[in-house]
Structure formats: structure tokens, C-alpha cells
Symmetry: C2
Subunit: 477 residues, 2 copies
């Protein structure tokens, strides 16, 4: 992808992610069609700009006046959404360029992914766009979401806004993952189904997100990177990770999966060893299950970076065991405590609790302040870099006094990242008491991520510790 | 554990899992206390037997007449629930034995897990119980659930009944996992927080579950098995797996986790290599994340066993890629199709779909019958042992015609396990359309497990294929 050098990437993609006005080419009344949802969903999400349906056969769509062509729209348009058959695209694009539009989202499929002829059509479009400084998502995109514009073109309810940006080379899987992640409570500022990446590729998105104020952590679903693009991508990634973490799931790491990428996005998955080595060098964190990058990004977006890989765990019984196993399997260390700390912990732990060790088994303490007090003691240790609190609270009724207690408890924990610059994350396998829900709500509010299994928490802490390591390495290099 | 040889294990544990009457020793009006929940929760779960609260200071509890001691109850009692302090247990147990009670659940803690003195008290109880043929769960148990009796002593809402039995050496983690698994839609016939396992240990539970009609798959959370018990446990397991699958998560596989088991259940986690080798020999399937055994058990409890490890995947785009990667990583094979099958698939696939390969990329077909027809073609292939269908349905409205279509589609898929003896499982990463929900409901109804990520589905298929292999090996040995 040749770079349009006149404008910064931020300026080039602003019409796409922050459009003041949108034209939907091929608009439809039917919300099950691309051209229908592109009118209906932004409205449902609260998009505040103007929407202009374009359809020569309709007077109005969704109660909005429709225009026969782009050129008939009386106002300026920032973003054109293409939902017309592939053969009609060149003419529509020519009209967009004539109208001075600078950004597009091409939902239409039937280009390079279908073979030689589609590839030719796509190349023609790219040439035309490039000359005019017109950048577009897709073709073969499943849509985008931008929290700043409240622009939702994804076939789902608008997600809560938040600090994660997600770029997916797969439309369907991307959308499902995006939805699954929002159900886990993670918030997003951007989602892009990047499709064939004819005009804007992964490197461009990375470059854009590096500057984007809303983005605190970046998740990528990649199936393949063109050989001639690999070097630039890794170079840009290496620059981006000096400021923001990148977490990637790479489809096609096995020969069976690779065969599937070929027929899916016509991507050559390439050697997995080479990709892996390149990620390590660029400081990209790699995950091996599709949902894991989001778990990591949630912590990376809101917690301070630990100075090392030494973790302490607070919990009760089997949760301590499973969390310790999960952490140790990922290479995190659980340092044993010094005698003075053991003494201090013993004073706080209930009498029936076992001798304090790391992990700290609180043995279902009667006193609700036990866990917060332990967390405070651990946060002060110079040989502990981060804390995982496993299922801290079990409800004991829901009185006003209990709520006051809860507020104190939560503050003693939520203050730690700020106070000591050390990350705190929590596991809540099952949330089933009103008091527990409230406590966890206070955690979330303060930016403490809540995970639902010991392994999720361990992976998130690993992500923080790994990114801390990457930042130290890149800072030194 | 010496075996009481007069009665079968089924007879010995029947008073615990199918009690006609229950006495709660230390009953309380407060549902946050052990002695309170043991009265309240069975009532809430619909327990149909008689409940007798025992408390010398109360006339009635939860509207039920209370008795000063066990011996004052006029009727026969099958099960005694102990919710009194440890020092009072010996006398209460003596009274239970005098009363002719044969089963107990000991929620009380403060025994072997606290040190030498507690160990002595526990040994004394075991001696007393053994002589009288009295068997009890615990001490230091967090309760049990039995679907047949609708007996719920767990600090949560009663779960839906189902084919999975779960025995956990950890109380808190066990309960959280049990709850998390029920939220995933999995049904249970038994849950036991086995506590210190003074009277009934893992081997005993396994022996019991082997005969239990309700149990189709067994999940164990184990922290450690006593050295002198290891041989018997593995011997019994080897017999059980000839009839029912056993899936285990073992806490303490790392040195950090092992340190935690020591302080938690006083278990010596032992060498992980030895445990692993023993599992392989006994035919126990081992998982490495706490929630995974439940995902496997769900498929194992309801799907036919595949004859080999050759899987086929149907899906769209990136889901094919991720599912293929996940399957291949677990050692499952994705055989390429013969020319005749490719030809037949091409006839069914939409024109814009890529050339058929395994995985079959349906490329978001317009025709709802595409996926079921492909599934039927694949089921007939003698070199395909199982099928994973990834996110099959996307809603297109919800008309009566659509519902009729859905019924046909679903039946063409749900008939495969019966018709061809091959397992079918499905992934539905995000269910967000009414029509999708209905289709998935029809799947569930027919016993097709639904998972929420490609990796969950791959692991479940692996579980089926691994258990098929185990059964063939044990059958031949």
C-alpha cells in the first residue's frame, strides 16, 4: 500500500471514524440487508451526524429523505457506505470522489476474494481512490464501530464505549468475538472488520490507532500478512508498542487452519515460526484462543505495568491452588514471604487460617477487612509486582452497615494501583450474591478487571507482566 | 479406608443421596449459617422428604417443628447433617448411631485440616462410624446436591438436573465451578464437596457413581490422593472408565500450586508426572483449566463415541480457521475429501463459496438448508468420525415459515448421531437473534452440545475422541 503523504493517517481516517455526515449508497428499508442496517443501526446507536440514504427507487428510508444519487445530496458528506453490488461500485466511487468525499466503508463482497476478475475490479478501485486521496475500509467488510461518533455498522447492538480497539480480518468471527467480549463487560472505542484491506491494511490501522486518544489497547485478528507488507507491519508495530500494547490472535497456525485461511481471505498464512519470531521482536503479545486477547487487553488498558513477574495471590482454598498453578504455568513467579511479612499477615488472618505463604489462603475469613488488609501488606513488598485477588467477597446480607463496610473494603483494594503503581486484578468465578455484585461493581468502577476463572486472571497478569517486560526492552534498545 | 463389606457401596451411600428424611443438627433460622441453609435450601430446591431441625433452644425453625436432640425425633431418619462445632460432634454422632441413622454430611470444619488435635478427633469419629456402618461426607464439606432427592445443601440455587456428577476436594472452588457450569447450561445429578474425605474418599465416590443410573459422566477436582490410596483409586477408575468417562482437574501441578494444596487440604500433591502417567494408564482424561472438564463432560454425557480422531468442520470464514487450528493443535485430524465428495459438496454450497475443502467454508449461504445438507454428506463418509458445526444459523426474521424451515434444518442435523453413530457438536459464539436461539434450543433439546468458542468445541470433540480411544484400548486389554 503506497502511502498518501500529504495528510497524516489520523487526518485520512478521520472521515471514517468521526464522520459528521454519512451517505448510505444502496440504502434499504429492510434491516436484514447491509443497506438497511447501515441506516438503522447508526440511528439506534445514537449517531449524532446526518444520515443520507441513497436509493433511486425510494422517496425516504427509515423516515429519512432518500436521494437518487450521491451527487444529489445538498450537503457535504464525510463518509460513504457502499452496500451495492460489486459491478456498480466504480461508478458510485467516481461520484463520491466528484462530491469530495474522503472516506468509505465497503460492505460489498465479490472482489479479490472471489478470483482474478474480482481482483482486477478491486485494483481498479484502489487506483481511483488513491489518486483522489479517498480511503476506504474493505471491500468485503462486515462493518465498523466507532464510539466517538457513536457510529455502529455492525450487525449487533451498539457496545459500551471503552478503551479497546479491535481490528479483525474476519467479518463473521470478528463480529462474534466483538459481541462475546462486550458481553464479558469489556468496552470498545473502535471495531473494524477490515475485509480485503484494499485501501487500508493492518499497518495503516495500527499507525492510526497509535495516535488515537481513545485507544489504550489494541486487539488484532490476523489471518495473513502479504509478504511485501510484513516488514512494514512489524516496523510499525514495534513503534506502536512503545506506547500501546498490541495483542494478536493469528488464524492459520496449523496446516489445517492455514488451508482454511487460503479459501477464506486468500491469505497465505505463512510460516508460523516466522510470525512468532517477528511478534517477539516487535513486542506483539500473541494468544492462542480467540477470546484471550480481549481478556488481556482489558487489564492492559486500565492497570499500571508491573516492574517484574513476581505475583502474589490472595484467596480461599482451591482458588489459591488453581490460580497458583495457572500463574506458574505461564512463567510468573510466586516469591515466598520474608519472616516479618509472615508475622504481619498472621496478625490479620483468622486464627484457623493456615500459616501464611504465597498464595495467601484466607480460609474464608469472618472479618470482611481481612482480604483488603492483606492486599495492602502485599502491595508494600518490593519483591511483589502485582496482586491477584480470587473471589474476595461472599455476601453476608445486604444491610446499610454492610454496604459501608464494602465501600471501605473496596477502597483499600482499588487504591493500590494508584498508591503503589502495582496492578490488581480479581477473579469472581460465580457472582451470586447482591453484596458480591456490589463489591465487584466498585472494583470495575475503579478499573480493577474482574475475570471469571483463575486461568483468565493468570493470563491477564501474564499479559501485564509481559508487556512491562516488552516496554523495558524497547525502552533500553 | 477399610471397606464395609456387608453392604454394597450403592446401599451404603443411598441414605446420603436419596434420603427419605433429613435431620439438621445445629439447625438455625439464619440462612447465612451452615445450619440455616441446610434447612432452607432443601426446601427451596423442592426436597420431598421430611426435614427435622435439631436445636435445643428453638421450638421451630423455618416454620418446621424443631427437636432438642436427634433422639427426640419420633420418625426414622436416613441422613444427618452436622452443622455444630467440632467438639460437639462425637456426642451427636453417638446419638445418630443409637438412632440407627446410616448417613451423614459433615459441614463442620476444624478436624484433620487444622493439625494433630483435629486429626485425632477425626480418627475417633471414623472409628465410631465404621463400627456402626455409618458413612459420612466430610468433615469440612461445603455440602452436596442430589437431583434424584432434590436435596440441595450448596450455598446456591438448585441447579437443573442432568447427567454429570461432580466430586470436588475443594469446597469453595468446587461450588463456584459447579455454579459456573450450571450457568453454561450443563445439568448435574450429583455434586459433592468431599472435604477431608474421612469416611468416604474419591475411590468410594467413583465406585458409587459407576453404579449410579443418573450419572453419565464424572468430573473430579482433586488436590491429592494419599499414597496408600493411590493404587486402589487408579484400579477403580480403570474399571469405571470401561462404562463411564472420568475427567479430572488436578490442583497443585506446579510447585507453587502444590505448596497451596498443602495448606489447603493437607494434601501432598505428589509428583505430577506420576499422576499424569497413572491417569493415562487408568483412562482418566485430564484437563488443565478448571472449567474445561465440564465442557468435555457435557459432550461425553450425550454424544456417541467416535471411532477415530478424524473430524470435519462446517462454518463460515474465520470460524473455520480458528476451529481447524484448535482441533489440529489437539491432535485431531481433518482429512481432505475425495473428488466425489467435493463434487457433491459443490452442488450444495452457494456459487460464491470457495472450492470445498475440510473445513467446509459455507461463505454465509443464503439457503438455510446448506449447512444441514453438508452435514448429512459428511456424516456418510467412512473417513469422518465426528462433525463440528460452527455458528450455523444467522436469523433472517422470525416468521412461521422460518420456524418450519428451522425445524427441518435442525432435524437434519440432530438425527446424525442416532443415524450414523457419529457425534455432532456446535459452536455459537454469540447468540443474538431469536431465530438463532430457537435453532440452538432445538439442538440442545436433541442433546447436541453448544459451546461458545471454537476452542471449547475442539476440546469437547477431543474429549469424545480420546474417550473413544480409551474405551477401545480397555476393551482390547
Amino acid at each position: 500500500m503506497a502511502k498518501v503523504i500529504e495528510k497524516s493517517i489520523a487526518e485520512q481516517l478521520r472521515p471514517i471514524f468521526e464522520p459528521r455526515s454519512v451517505a448510505v449508497i444502496g440504502a434499504s428499508e429492510n434491516p436484514w440487508k447491509f443497506g438497511g442496517r447501515a441506516v438503522h443501526l447508526p440511528l439506534a446507536a445514537g449517531y449524532r451526524g446526518a444520515i443520507y440514504p441513497v436509493n433511486p427507487n425510494r422517496e425516504e428510508i427509515a423516515g429519512i429523505k432518500a436521494y437518487p444519487s450521491i451527487l444529489d445530496i445538498p450537503d457535504e458528506i464525510d463518509l460513504a457506505i457502499f452496500a451495492i453490488p460489486a459491478p456498480q461500485i466504480p461508478q458510485a466511487m467516481a461520484e463520491c470522489i466528484k462530491k469530495g468525499i474522503k472516506g468509505g466503508v465497503m460492505l460489498t463482497a465479490g472482489f479479490a476474494e472471489t478470483g482474478e476478475e474480482g481482483k482486477k475490479l478491486q485494483d481498479e478501485m484502489v487506483r481511483m481512490a488513491h489518486q483522489a486521496g479517498f480511503r476506504f475500509v474493505g471491500p468485503n467488510s462486515n462493518g465498523i464501530w466507532s464510539s466517538r461518533a457513536k457510529l455502529n455498522l455492525i450487525f449487533m447492538d451498539a457496545p459500551p464505549p471503552g478503551p479497546i480497539a479491535f481490528i479483525s480480518q474476519s467479518g463473521t468471527l470478528g463480529q462474534y468475538l466483538f459481541q462475546a467480549a462486550t458481553r464479558k463487560g469489556y468496552g470498545f472505542c473502535k471495531y473494524v472488520s477490515s475485509g480485503n484491506q484494499a485501501s487500508i491494511n493492518m499497518s495503516d490501522y495500527l499507525e492510526y490507532l497509535a495516535e488515537d486518544e481513545d485507544t489504550k489497547a489494541i486487539v488484532l485478528y490476523i489471518e495473513g500478512i502479504e509478504v511485501e507488507e510484513g516488514g512494514r507491519f512489524m516496523e510499525i508495530a514495534r513503534e506502536v508498542v512503545k506506547r500501546k500494547p498490541i495483542v494478536v490472535y493469528k488464524g492459520g497456525r496449523t496446516s489445517a487452519g492455514s488451508r482454511a485461511t487460503l479459501s477464506h481471505t486468500a491469505s497465505l498464512a505463512g510460516s508460523d515460526e516466522i510470525f512468532d519470531a517477528a511478534c517477539k521482536q516487535a513486542g506483539i503479545i500473541r494468544c492462542y484462543e480467540v477470546i484471550h486477547p480481549f481478556d488481556l487487553a482489558e487489564a492492559l488498558a486500565c492497570q499500571p505495568l508491573p516492574k517484574g513477574k513476581r505475583v502474589s495471590i490472595i484467596g480461599s482454598g482451591g482458588q489459591c491452588v488453581a490460580t497458583s498453578d495457572a500463574c506458574a504455568s505461564l512463567g510468573l513467579e510466586l516469591p515466598e514471604f520474608d519472616p516479618d511479612t509472615k508475622r504481619r499477615l498472621k496478625e490479620v488472618l483468622p486464627p484457623h487460617a493456615p500459616v501464611p505463604t504465597n498464595p495467601v489462603d484466607t480460609a474464608a475469613p469472618g472479618d470482611p477487612m481481612t482480604t483488603p488488609r492483606i492486599a495492602q501488606i502485599l502491595a508494600q513488598l518490593d519483591y511483589i509486582d502485582g496482586i491477584i485477588i480470587s473471589s474476595p467477597w461472599v455476601g453476608r446480607g445486604f444491610s446499610p452497615d454492610r454496604i459501608r463496610e464494602l465501600l471501605n473494603e473496596a477502597e483499600m483494594v482499588t487504591s493500590i494501583p494508584r498508591q503503589y503503581g502495582k496492578p490488581v486484578i480479581s477473579t469472581a468465578i460465580a457472582m451470586h450474591f447482591a453484596a458480591t455484585d456490589l463489591a465487584l461493581g466498585l472494583f470495575r468502577e475503579a478499573g480493577i478487571p474482574i475475570y471469571s476463572t483463575p486461568e483468565e486472571s493468570a493470563r491477564a497478569m501474564y499479559g501485564l507482566m509481559r508487556y512491562g517486560e516488552i516496554r523495558r526492552q524497547l525502552g533500553e534498545s
